[in-house]
Symmetry: D2
Subunit: 135 residues, 4 copies
């Protein structure tokens, strides 16, 4: 299991008139979580794309437990618990500053060769690196 934590500060733009973070903004926070997780693993998503691989999302789930509010400093805990092959799974937990769990979610992303548009395998460097943490 590889676990990584990063933070985001809630922007005014991200609230709605309920005074909550709009439910559709969490996928962006999850994106921040997985991008920083990949960077921590030494394989930035930016480099991946420049090497001809893109990672469109094929599946998203979110279970909303409590709202986040304006100016909250949120912690996104991102977990990879399986070795990717043609897909990679991330799970997410978002906590506020009091440590209260606000929501949990999952995404599945597919490795796609940018040139051919076809599904490809996870880069071997990524598999190797993750093998240190994930069984």
């Amino acid at each position: 299991m590889f676990v990584h934590e990063t933070t985001v500060r809630v922007r005014y733009a991200e609230t709605d008139q309920m005074g909550y973070v709009y439910y559709g903004n969490y996928p962006q926070y999850y994106e921040v979580g997985r991008v920083e997780t990949m960077r921590a693993l030494g394989m930035s998503y930016k480099r991946l794309e420049s090497e001809g691989v893109m990672l469109p999302v094929s599946n998203l789930t979110i279970k909303y437990i409590k709202p986040a509010y304006y100016d909250d400093l949120l912690t996104i805990r991102t977990t990879i618990s399986t070795i990717p092959n043609i897909k990679i799974d991330f799970s997410y937990e978002i906590f506020n500053e009091k440590g209260i769990l606000l929501n949990i979610g999952t995404t599945t992303l597919v490795f796609v060769d940018i040139k051919t548009g076809k599904i490809s395998k996870a880069p071997s460097a990524m598999i190797e690196e993750l093998s240190k943490y994930v069984n």
Copy 2:
């Protein structure tokens, strides 16, 4: 079963550098779908809030099948297939102009009394209206 269709035109803002609609923008399209569905049922979400009831989302799932592109005129087909009590379930299918199914999703929303912050029951007018369509 109550089914309603509405359209949205993809904005440039909603694309990303893959050239696709960003995966995190579909929850907004789903919002458009359910808001217009409620309006078609004679109970606008705006009025609901002004009557003291809000509807935070408790659950979201999206299965992405094909991407949407800039300037696509998308059809959002929204379905209500059960009578709400303290929650209301919507399901969504998004199609492009060629009739190709791009993604499917679901949301669950909870009726909350704005004053007390407590979970409440669906307004009886809404249940009555939906009873004409849903068993």
Copy 3:
């Protein structure tokens, strides 16, 4: 002068906790305004890009007069009042359903050749079409 009107319905996502449309969402509405204006002139922005020309924004101004609210059906009035050469100017007025002017703005966009990355001239078809309306 070429004037075109189109409408947008305010999404919940676009409000903030003040209960107003977030100030940073109007550039998206202006984008909707100019894209529909170009479509009405027979030269969709999508086609322009597919023909190798892109139009990055070089200048934006907005003067906010009154707020827009959730579910408002806004009218965006877009005006082109000069013939473009290497740049094109649009001005915008946004009105609510009561006809109240909410904000006014301007954008300048630059014609850029996608292949070379260099500034180019407005397509002659666009100049010809606009010459019917603009002196």
Copy 4:
């Protein structure tokens, strides 16, 4: 003159199919800039609202010079150069990691009493604090 710098990492969500940060996302970055500037001055925007004052934007200008790209770590330099009375002016410069100036902008915000909806004066604590830096 009070000058404050903060950083934002460009999210994938914030790019568009040109491969640039969408022009309409910079107002959000400017928001981050001014919010952190106010926090550095000891008067968080969140607290201001909780004390009954809100700050809607009345004016925005942006001059776009060069694009920002995905994953860029941008520096937002925010400057306050006049003492606020019923309005407060911020100016912004955004730089990429190479120190290249990407855009410059300004916003004017108005102090409004949340209860009455009327224009009010800047809190005296804010004026006092700023008087240390601004003539």
